[in-house]
Each structure stands twice: as C-alpha cells, then as structure tokens.
C-alpha cells in the first residue's frame, strides 16, 4: 500500500510546493514535500475553492536557534495559491549571535497565476538572531500579494525590540520569455539589537514607540484594484501639519451632513488611526506597490490592515475568505 503521506525531501527544513490548474479549472497541488522543522498542511480541496490554501507551519509554532527553513514554491500557469500561518511565527533565542535562524522562500509565479502570502507577524524573542530572504519571480501577467511584518517580541513579558538581529529581504523579479530576469524591487530591512550595536536602548529609540512594523507588496493584474485603493487612500490622507480651521458652528453643521459610505468609512478609519497611532505610507516602485506601516500595538496593526483589505474586498473575492484569516 502506498504511503498516505506526501514523500519528504531529504534535507532538513527543505520544502517544495507546486500548484497547477486542474482540468476542472480549479487550482490543486501537484507536489507538496517538507522536512522537519518545516510543516505544510493543505486542507482537503472543495469544488468551489478559489485558491489552494496551504498552512505554513513549524513544529512548536516557531523556529529554534539555528533552524534553517528553505521553501520553494512554483505557481503554475493560471493557478492560485494562498499561504497562511496558524499564529505568530516565534523566533526563539539563539545561544550566541553567531548562530542564525534563517528562513528562505523562493517563489516562481507563472503567466496568469497568483500567490497570496498573508502570514501572521514574525515574533522575534529577546536574544534571537533571524534572517529572512524571500524572492519572487513574477511573470508579466502573474500576481503577488505579500505581507511581511515583525513585532517587538513578547511585549507581555516586557520585551521591546530586544532581539539580537532581524534582517528581512524581499525581492521581486520580473521574468520574461526571452529577456533575463530584472530586479523590480528589493526591500532590505536590517534591524540590529542593542547587543550588536553596543549602545543601550538604541533600537527601541529608533522604533519610536511602534510595536509592529510591516510591509505589504502588491504586483500584478489581480491585485491592481487593491494597489489603487491603497494609493488613493494614501493621497487622501490629511497633509502633514494640516489643521482644521473650521469654526465650531461649521463643524456642527457639517456633522449633520450625510456622508457616503466611503467618506464615513474613511473618517472612522482616520480617527482610529489617530488613536491607535498608525503610521503608514504607500508608494509605487517600478510597477509594484509598497505599503509600509507601523502600529503602536500588534493588534492595532492587525485591525488596521484587516480593515483595509476587507473594505476593498478583492483579496477575499479572488483567493477566498480563508486567505485573509490572519486579519480576521
């Protein structure tokens, strides 16, 4: 009898995922291999699923000092994949700064295919050393939605950016038929803790009271409306230093006016952003849209990005509601 489990690749921490379109026009996995400490789970497919859902897990819910995870994903023509996690990816402390915990992801998105990678935030514990490198090779008609966020650690235990080192790199490359791949975007975030910098509270000071820092990268036709949504909302933000010069009378008069749903939603969001101390920006970088955001607490950041994704709605519509479970 054949083993009911997927065959595993030989190297520890290695994983491989290939998705393709079935004759029934639904996306399905043709290959799924993984080796400890990496674990991949895909719920049994349903007939009307919009994309293949895969849980990216690690044993114990995190990576122990020195763990190396290397995952390769190929999203074949016209298929769609959503990758989620089951909670924060915890990065446990390392015995010394020389031991690096590393996660690399290599993704190829073919013509008309799409990948939605919305994991929970990475939570680096005090004394952890972590490097993450994610490379996406996206065809001209392929789409990518990528969220990469990191928290200050176990804030309930008083941790506040107390890790040793956190490096994150996201690269988006274009792939053409006859041209060689071209770098479209490279975002390196290098955070060195106090142990490496030698100065006390340096990183904390620099994070300016933020407990969460995130980057959302969008590229391709399937996320074009979401990109436009973020860029529009960003340009609708009040100017820095702008003041409300209306008199109390006018304010009272204006408050009776019935606002459209969009205006009301924006108004509520802006006041929420002020209370939660959300700081964000959106920029168009060589065909990709990059949204950077910071929040005073992890939950505030989660609520904010969730509010944006749900209000616009195209991610859930294209990939299925489960794709955005990290912000539900």
């Amino acid at each position: 009898m054949a083993s009911p489990f997927p065959p595993s690749s030989s190297a520890p921490g290695e994983g491989c995922l290939v998705a393709e379109l079935t004759p029934q026009k639904t996306s399905a996995l043709s290959t799924m291999t993984f080796q400890y400490p990496l674990k991949l789970i895909s719920p049994s497919p349903s007939a009307n699923q919009k994309s293949v859902l895969v849980f990216l897990l690690t044993y114990g819910g995190g990576l122990v000092g020195g763990d190396q995870v290397h995952l390769t994903i190929t999203v074949k023509s016209l298929s769609k994949v959503s990758i989620v996690t089951q909670g924060h990816t915890k990065i446990f402390k390392c015995p010394s700064p020389d031991v690096t915990t590393r996660q690399t992801l290599h993704v190829t998105i073919q013509d008309g295919a799409a990948l939605c990678l919305l994991p929970d935030p990475v939570q680096p514990f005090g004394g952890s050393v972590y490097e993450q490198s994610q490379k996406f090779i996206v065809s001209e008609t392929g789409s990518l939605c990528l969220l990469d966020w990191v928290s200050a650690g176990r804030t309930a235990r008083g941790e506040d950016w107390d890790f040793c080192k956190w490096n994150g790199r996201n690269e988006v490359w274009s792939s053409g038929e006859e041209t060689k791949p071209r770098l479209l975007l490279r975002d390196n975030v290098l955070l060195d803790g106090d142990a490496l910098s030698g100065s006390k509270k340096y990183l904390k000071k620099k994070m300016h009271g933020l407990d969460l820092f995130g980057t959302l990268v969008l590229r391709g036709p399937l996320v074009a409306s979401l990109s436009a949504f973020f860029l529009d909302e960003f340009s609708a933000l009040p100017r820095i230093g702008a003041r409300d010069f209306r008199s109390q009378d006018t304010k009272d008069k204006d408050s009776i006016l019935v606002l459209s749903h969009q205006e009301q939603w924006r108004k509520d969001r802006l006041s929420q952003e002020a209370t939660d101390r959300i700081l964000w920006s959106a920029a168009k970088v060589r065909g990709c849209t990059v949204v950077k955001f910071g929040a005073h607490t992890v939950e505030a950041g989660r609520t904010w990005i969730g509010n944006m994704l749900k209000e616009e709605g195209s991610i859930a519509a294209s990939f299925g509601g489960d794709a955005i479970m990290c912000v539900r």
């Binding site: 700064p97 080192k165 770098l183 390196n188 290098l190 060195d192 620099k206 230093g241 920029a283 060589r286």
Partner: protein
C-alpha cells in the same frame, strides 16, 4: 683754537658714523634673524611644484565637489527632516535625527557610491539596482533630481577639463549612460526606464574619473548629506547658521561620518538597506582604515 675746535667736531662726526654703522649692523643682523633662510630664497622655484597633474587636479575637483555652490539642488530636499518634525513635535531632537539619518543614508546609498567608484563600468546596472531599492517616492525624486543635475554638470562643465591620464573606458561608460538616459526619457512608455540617473552611483563614477580617492569620495558624499540636513534645519528655524556650523565642525559629526564609512566599506550593494544600524555584523565591517 679754531683748529682744535674743528678737530673735536670731526672726531664727534667720526664717532657718530661709527655708532650709526654699528646700529646698521645690528639692524641687519636682526633682519637676517627674522628671515633665517634669506640665503635660500633663490632656491625656491618661481612656480609651485608640479607633483603629477592628476594629484593636483584631483585636489581641485575635491574642492569643487565638496563646495556647497555646486549646483546639485541638494538644498531643495530635507531628507525627511520636515516629516520627522511634524510627527515628533514637541519632543523632536535634531542630534538624534542627524544620527539616524546619517546611519540610514550610509547603509542605503553609500555602498552604491563605493561600488561605482570601484567599478565605474557597471554604472548602468548599479543605477538600475538602486532604483529598485528606493521605497520612498520623495527620496527617489530627490535622488534622481540630484543625479541628473550632477550628470549635467559633468556634461557641460567638468568633462571639458578632464585631468590627464584618465581612463577612456570610464569616460566612455559615462557617455554611454548619458545616451541611454536620453533615449529612455524621450520614449514615453509605461515600461520601467533602463536608466534613472540616481545620485549615488553617478557621484562614485564621476569622482573616480576626476581622480579622487575612494575615501575622499565617500567622505565628501556623506558630508554633503550632513550639510544638506543642516541647511534644512536652519530653514526650519531649529537653530541659526552659527550653531549649524558648530554642529558641522563638531568632533561628533566627524566621528559619525568616519564610523558610517567604515561600517559600509565592504557592504555589498545587494545587502544595502534600511537599517536601524549601529554596528553591522563583524564580517561586514572589517575596516580598511
């Protein structure tokens, strides 16, 4: 009687002459004491020593590139200072911002200056890579505006005064880059342009052609950033011009620049990124100075 008187008068004149001669001698000695090498005057060459035309001209161009009158338009940008002030008032601190800004500017762009100086032939690729690594719209605009201005200065002003002994291959590479830039900007398309003319790689390549050393180039590049920030601070009424000069002259700023250059000396361009900074891992910061 009169003879005697005449004799006495001539004696007094003789004494006076002797006295004057003595004073003249003392005065001459004093003069030669003031100019100990008065004999050597004839050995000083009539013109300045010419120790290699390249060295002399590189010093000349070092002064030109570090001059705040260089029409780059650097002072049109505040490198995020205005935004910082708006977000952190009333608790803003300029020294803190300067420290972070220096570290961040060095880690994101200095590797591109160094790489372009070391290999000016790879200018097009460096420019393209840097274009992919700038996430901020305003920062991109600032970098491109200054880069294009520097290229114009090169084209219209510096290239006519090329020092002797410059590598023609490097000059050709720069010429090729200019042509590429013109061809991309004339074609209005939605495609990503092949060349953008960012400041950092162009500064490295042009400084290399002008014969400046790698250290000089890096130092001038970082110092210009500090000068631009200080000018923005003066215009934002944080402090006055004397305090700005005091900060510019301070040991702290010198030390920060030196540390930043040391830290990024061996950073590869693919590892350049937004840092919180202070000391990068030891293998990357093995210093050359």
């Amino acid at each position: 009687m009169s003879l005697k008187a005449d004799c006495a008068e001539s004696q007094s004149i003789c004494d006076e002459i002797a006295l004057l001669e003595k004073r003249l001698k003392v005065a001459k000695d004093r003069l030669s004491g003031l100019r100990p090498n008065s004999d050597a005057i004839s050995t000083i060459p009539r013109i300045l020593p010419n120790n290699g035309s390249l060295a002399a001209s590189s010093r000349h161009f070092l002064l030109l590139l570090s001059d705040s009158a260089l029409p780059l338009g650097s002072f049109a940008f505040s490198s995020g200072l205005e935004s910082y002030l708006a977000h952190s008032r009333p608790n803003s601190s300029f020294p803190t911002f300067l420290e972070f800004s220096l570290a961040s500017y060095a880690s994101t762009t200095l590797p591109f200056v160094l790489a372009a100086h070391r290999n000016p032939i790879g200018l097009v690729e460096l420019d393209d890579t840097l274009d992919a690594a700038i996430m901020c719209t305003v920062g991109r605009r600032a970098s491109v505006a200054q880069g294009r201005a520097l290229l114009s200065i090169w084209d219209r002003s510096f290239s006519a005064a090329l020092p002797g002994g410059t590598s023609t291959a490097t000059v050709e590479a720069l010429k090729g880059f200019t042509l590429l830039l013109r061809s991309t900007s004339s074609v209005a398309s939605s495609d990503i342009p092949l060349a953008s003319a960012h400041l950092a790689p162009l500064f490295g390549a042009i400084a290399c052609i002008l014969g400046m050393s790698l250290e000089q180039t890096a130092y001038v590049f970082m110092l210009s950033h500090v000068k631009a920030l200080l000018s923005a601070a003066v215009r934002a009424s944080i402090f006055g011009p004397y305090h700005a000069q005091k900060v510019l002259a301070s040991v702290e700023v010198q030390e920060e620049i030196r540390k930043a250059i040391e830290r990024e000396w061996n950073t590869k361009t693919e590892n350049a990124g937004q840092t919180d900074d202070d000391e990068r891992s030891p293998e990357q910061s093995s210093a050359h100075f």
